[in-house]
């Protein structure tokens, strides 16, 4: 933030620092130095007084020394040559009789982030490690890590590492923890500090001496230790039992994570632990610190995913308070939605209904979607509440309710009738794109049971020119065509108008193409239209299962007490995908929390669209497999699947090749048209790297095609998805021909 006049300020400071009168007057001198620091904080570049500050470091006044060292550490990278001048004073201070001065000098010297400082700091650090004052030893231990990181890619000094390992036995608890931290950084390349049995037990014994921060961090390091036997495991857990009752949430959480990870083979222990931390977690959820409360809520959600009933009896703790910030309310609504059971459903729904009319549109919509989530289990009550909300005729409420209805019709077909009855009248109070799309979809799919459906759609058709959202137009086209199939008389005229508009006037290419497609489809005959539009959908119960499946504790235990639960799923997926593309930062990879887990990503995809007919299986364009490689792999694998499909006529290689290319299936080799027997070899690869090799064999009568699929990794699910993709393609080719 360099603002005007900063040059004058710096000049003035320089003058003041040089003034011998001020230098003689200690409080005044210190005051000027404070001023320099203040400007530094504000972002003014005061590096040009470096020389004067170096002079100021030669003083007996400790406060002044501290300020000057702070200044030097900030600007040393900019002025490395001048900073070397200060080294002398620092080195002298490192052998000061006062341990505080020694520590201060050593810490500052190690924090000078500039090249060439290593040779000066090495000896003072080694001396510091053997200092009799624990304060200096603490500083020296971390100084080792600083020195190593300054060096960059230098060799790890074995003697130093050994010395640090032996300092783990130091009397001072902070020195012990600092040793762990320093070793972790120095041995980063080799996977961090090694926790073997003696170290682990030593640390466990030192636990009571540590303060809360030390405890929390040591618990994190202990995650790395794998007990040799079951007895040892339970002995450790017994020792750590008191940590679960600590008054510091950080320690409780770290202990919980350790329990969950160590006891990964013992689900009942894990459940037990989660019961034990219920109290501390709930206390954190109603803590005065909003941020802590938020962190706790995020973790509660993780736990609920594995143990849905875990907090059910405490549902009242998750009721929103009036004064809470928005982000906490949204989290609480999510939690409420997940802990519903038979006993509390009534109260929770009443509470949520109250939020639906909240002044904040975001909270209102979140509450409506939450009721929609509960409706999967308690359909009737929820649909009734949602229907009542429509009476209010509020824009954001109606829109959210209709969107919820759309999902509900899909997931719980039994409520279709009630929803269809509630729909008339909604169209007047929906303005946003999402809401309109949902309404139009509902009218299109269930138009036969809604008396005025054609007239509502007609309104949309009338106003299509003024419609700004392309998504709405797209949905309108499909819905109207669907409705035309069930109620042709009322829809024919407006369908014509809409198609005319889309083909002749619409500027958006996607809509125009869709219009043209439907137009041509209609030309081929009504049966084809029916086949395309009313084709069987994927099983709705699948989406439900994927969404609500209980996840084992072990699936998230490694993410517990990290930043991962604090981000929303989508947000985290975005972050981790960023991290895939660029090389990982220098953070320790020991716990592996940052590596994007496959489950997160695939789960995200599955959640994207409960309505899309295709699943989450995706083929990716793979690196070209040469014919030789193909042959080799083909011969080495077993046939995973064989099937015979109907076929008609002669095979046209070009058509087949193009069609397969569209779904990312590569053609390796195929026979010329008309050759007997006609053969084709295909290869494809899915997102997880699984390769599928396929042989197509056409029988001489051209009535059947036999396909044999081989798979590089045995994955039944992926295989099924691949075969269904292949079948669709072949089916399409056959259809085009006939």
């Amino acid at each position: 933030m360099p603002y005007l006049g900063s040059e004058d300020i710096v000049k003035e400071l320089k003058k003041a620092l040089c003034n011998p009168h001020i230098q003689a007057d200690r409080p005044r001198y210190r005051n000027v130095i404070q001023k320099v620091i203040r400007h530094m904080t504000q972002g003014v570049d005061v590096s040009s007084v470096f020389m004067e500050m170096v002079k100021a470091s030669a003083t007996v006044d400790i406060v002044q020394k501290k300020l000057v060292y702070l200044y030097m550490c900030t600007y040393a990278p900019l002025k490395p040559d001048l900073a070397l001048l200060a080294i002398n004073t620092l080195c002298k201070d490192c052998s000061d009789p006062n341990p505080m001065v020694r520590g201060l000098a050593l810490r500052s010297m190690c924090s000078l982030r500039m090249p060439g400082v290593q040779e000066y700091i090495q000896q003072p650090i080694l001396n510091g490690l053997r200092d009799k004052a624990s304060y200096v030893r603490r500083v020296a231990v971390l100084g080792c890590a600083k020195m190593y990181n300054l060096h960059g890619d230098s060799e790890v000094d074995g003697a130093l590492v050994n010395e640090l390992y032996s300092l783990l036995r130091d009397q001072d608890p902070i020195v012990v923890v600092n040793c762990l931290r320093a070793l972790e950084e120095i041995l980063k390349q080799e996977g961090g500090v090694v926790i073997n049995k003696p170290i682990a037990h030593h640390l466990l014994n030192r636990m009571p001496d540590l303060d809360q921060w030390g405890q929390a961090e040591v618990l994190g390091f202990l995650l790395r230790y794998q007990p040799r036997s079951e007895e040892e495991l339970f002995a450790i857990l017994n020792l750590l039992d008191s940590s679960l009752q600590s008054s510091s949430p950080a320690v409780v959480m770290a202990a919980t994570k350790l329990f969950l990870i160590l006891a990964k083979e013992f689900p009942h222990v894990q459940t037990d632990v989660l019961v034990r931390v219920k109290g501390p977690l709930l206390a954190a959820c109603s803590s005065e610190s909003r941020e802590l409360c938020f962190a706790a809520l995020c973790h509660v959600r993780r736990i609920l995913r594995s143990l849905p009933g875990h907090f059910s009896s405490h549902y009242k703790k998750f009721f929103c308070s009036y004064s809470e910030p928005h982000y906490i309310k949204l989290q609480k609504v999510e939690v409420l939605c997940e802990l519903v059971n038979d006993e509390n459903v009534q109260q929770v729904l009443e509470e949520l209904r109250d939020y639906c009319t909240d002044v904040s549109a975001d909270l209102a919509q979140a509450a409506i979607f939450a009721i929609g989530g509960i409706a999967r289990t308690y359909t009737d009550q929820c649909v009734q509440i949602l229907t009542e909300l429509l009476v209010l005729r509020q824009e954001h409420i109606t829109s959210a309710v209709v969107q919820t209805f759309r999902n509900l019709v899909w997931l719980c077909p039994q409520c279709t009738e009630a929803i269809c009855q509630a729909l008339p009248g909604c169209e007047e109070s929906i303005q946003d794109s999402e809401g309109k799309q949902a309404l139009i979809w509902l009218l299109g799919v269930h138009g036969e049971t809604i008396p005025n459906a054609p007239y509502v759609l007609e309104d949309f058709v009338e106003n299509v020119k003024a419609e700004t959202f392309p998504g709405v137009k797209m949905e309108l086209l499909t819905a109207l065509l669907r409705l035309f199939l069930s109620r042709p008389a009322e829809c024919q005229d407006m369908l014509g108008r809409l198609l005319y508009y889309c083909i002749e006037e619409e500027k958006d290419m996607a809509i125009r193409d869709r219009g043209l497609f439907y137009y041509r489809l209609l030309l081929t005959g009504i049966d084809e239209v029916k086949q395309i539009l009313c084709s069987p959908k994927s099983d709705p119960s699948l989406g439900l299962l994927e969404d609500q499946a209980e996840r084992p504790v072990n699936s998230w235990a490694s993410e517990f007490n990290t930043l991962v639960p604090m981000y929303s799923k989508a947000c985290w997926a975005a972050i981790s995908s960023l991290q895939v593309s660029e090389p990982r930062g220098p953070e320790p990879s020991g716990t592996g929390v940052l590596s994007p887990s496959g489950s997160l990503i695939s789960e995200n995809k599955a959640e994207l669209q409960p309505l899309s007919d295709s699943g989450s299986f995706l083929l990716v364009p793979n690196g070209q497999l040469t014919a030789e490689q193909f042959e080799k792999t083909w011969l080495s694998l077993e046939v995973a699947h064989q099937e015979v499909l109907p076929w008609q006529g002669v095979a046209h290689p070009d058509t087949i090749q193009t069609a397969l290319q569209m779904v990312n299936i590569q053609t390796i080799a195929l026979s010329k048209a008309g050759v007997q027997p006609w053969k084709a070899y295909l290869s494809a690869q899915d997102g997880s790297g699984c390769v599928f090799l396929t042989e197509l064999l056409l029988d001489p009568e051209h009535l059947q095609v036999r396909l044999s699929v081989k798979q590089s990794h045995v994955k039944a699910e992926a295989l099924n998805s691949f075969i269904s993709v292949l079948k669709t393609v072949i089916g399409t080719i056959v259809d085009i021909k006939s």
């Binding site: 902070i174 600092n178 961090e217 802590l292 962190a295 009242k316 009036y322 009319t357 007490n561 930043l563």
Partner: protein, 450 residues
């Protein structure tokens, strides 16, 4: 592991900035952070935000200030958040209070503190006791503490009548006052503070009661003397335990600070500890659902909504169910109103009350409500241009009413401190320390649906 730590004013000016590791960009991070946090879309939580390349911002807000750290991904959110709030306490311990002004007055002190608390981004120590050996700068207090100048305002602004009560700002001064100033050193402040969150349904049924209590100690005692703290003898924990005769004082859960010794707790409800200098939460407790005493306030609203003329009439009757000797202070009632409310005419039961419209909210201020009394207000408002709902229900946007108040010398759970005794090791010449014990309940959220 923390890369940077900075404190921003509510307007985004950097007050304190310290880079521990130099791996996370320059001092413009403060600007980047402020831009991010202010431009965040409404539905995204601000606590944790992505910085870049695997670095994250974690922050807390404390009295309008942003305390922010940038950290790499593998860190525990609880450690960071706890550290930040501990830091806020530390800073107010050392600077007297935590605000933009005190921070800029004490820049040197704050940097000195940070230097000792964190080294290379690792937490070293946060105990006030240990740190004071290393801190050399003396705090600059924005307003010198003077016992005689202060008005008779009690804890949290509560008015006091007894002269024996310490002024509210008595506790908000640096723990380490200058070595010359010995006069106020031997003081101990003990607060029993309860936060009350209540939700009352529109039919008057009690949906939720939650009491979060804590016993806070702020000690200015220089040396380690032992403190014995006696709680109400009928105090019991959990649903099953019962002590003494009569109703007793019951809480659901209690947690104590690590330094509290509990050997006499079972038998006599006495806590023993050696109070360190500075602030310390000795005990936290929770109580939900059944309170021993009736709720402090009941609200009886009635709403009349005349659709034709667009006139909304709200009649509020507030009954205070405290014992007659107690009183509630600074009672404020907020009632959100439908959009577009234009005028307000009011009829209040006593002259010291005040009511006004502001930003779609009706505010009704009652400076003082005596236990057992009943107050009422009649409010008439014009609501033009409200789309009439076909149902006779009151229009959207009305309610729920929320109350905020303070109840000095009253605890909802009934917990009291019986005695507070200090056994100082022989420090001849020093007068025995002053001990101030205060009880207070205040509303966290007190919502009544209409």
């Amino acid at each position: 592991m923390i890369s940077q730590l900075f404190i921003l004013s509510s307007k985004g000016d950097p007050l304190i900035y310290k880079d521990f590791r130099g791996d996370c960009g320059g001092s413009d991070v403060a600007e980047i952070f402020y831009r991010k946090v202010t431009e965040l879309p409404g539905d995204q939580p601000p606590v944790v935000m992505v910085h870049h390349k695997g670095h994250h911002f974690v922050h807390i807000r404390h009295f309008g200030l942003y305390l922010v750290v940038t950290t790499s991904g593998g860190v525990s959110p609880f450690i960071v958040l706890e550290l930040l709030s501990r830091l806020a306490t530390l800073l107010s311990d050392y600077c007297g209070s935590l605000s933009e002004k005190t921070l800029s007055l004490n820049v040197a002190l704050v940097y000195e503190l940070l230097d000792e608390v964190l080294d290379y981004g690792y937490i070293q120590t946060t105990s006030t006791e240990m740190l004071r050996n290393f801190i050399q700068t003396e705090a600059v207090v924005s307003k010198p503490f003077n016992l005689f100048e202060l008005s008779s305002v009690g804890l949290f602004g509560a008015e006091t009548q007894q002269s024996k009560v310490a002024p509210s700002s008595a506790a908000s001064r640096p723990v380490l006052t200058g070595r010359s100033d010995q006069s106020h050193k031997n003081e101990v402040f003990l607060d029993v503070v309860e936060r009350l969150s209540v939700l009352i349904g529109s039919n008057g049924s009690l949906l939720k009661v939650d009491v979060q209590g804590e016993i806070r100690l702020k000690s200015f005692l220089p040396s380690c003397s032992e403190m014995r703290l006696g709680l109400t003898e009928e105090f019991c924990v959990g649903k099953s335990e019962l002590r003494g005769y009569g109703p007793g004082v019951r809480v659901d859960e209690v947690s104590f600070h690590g330094s509290v010794r509990l050997d006499e707790f079972e038998s006599h409800r006495i806590l023993r500890l050696q109070p360190p200098q500075g602030e310390l939460t000795i005990m936290r407790y929770q109580l939900s659902d059944d309170l021993p005493s009736p709720l402090p306030f009941r609200l009886f609203p009635s709403v009349q909504w005349d659709r034709g003329s667009g006139r909304l009439q709200v009649y509020l009757k507030l009954r205070c169910d405290l014992p007659p000797k107690s009183q509630a202070l600074h009672v404020k009632l907020h009632l959100p109103l439908p959009r577009g409310v234009a005028s307000l005419s009011q009829d209040l039961s006593s002259p010291e009350q005040k009511a006004e419209l502001g930003e779609g909210v009706l505010r009704w201020d009652l400076p003082r409500v005596q236990g057992g009394s009943q107050l009422c207000g009649l409010f008439q408002m014009d609501v033009p241009g409200l789309p009439d709902p076909p149902s006779p229900a009151p229009p959207l946007g009305l309610g729920p009413a929320s109350l905020s108040f303070e109840l000095p010398r009253y605890t909802c759970s009934g917990l009291q401190v019986r005695f507070l005794r200090l056994t100082a090791p022989g420090t001849p010449g020093n007068t025995s320390p002053h001990t101030w014990v205060r009880h207070l309940s205040h509303s966290d959220t007190y919502v009544i649906r209409i």
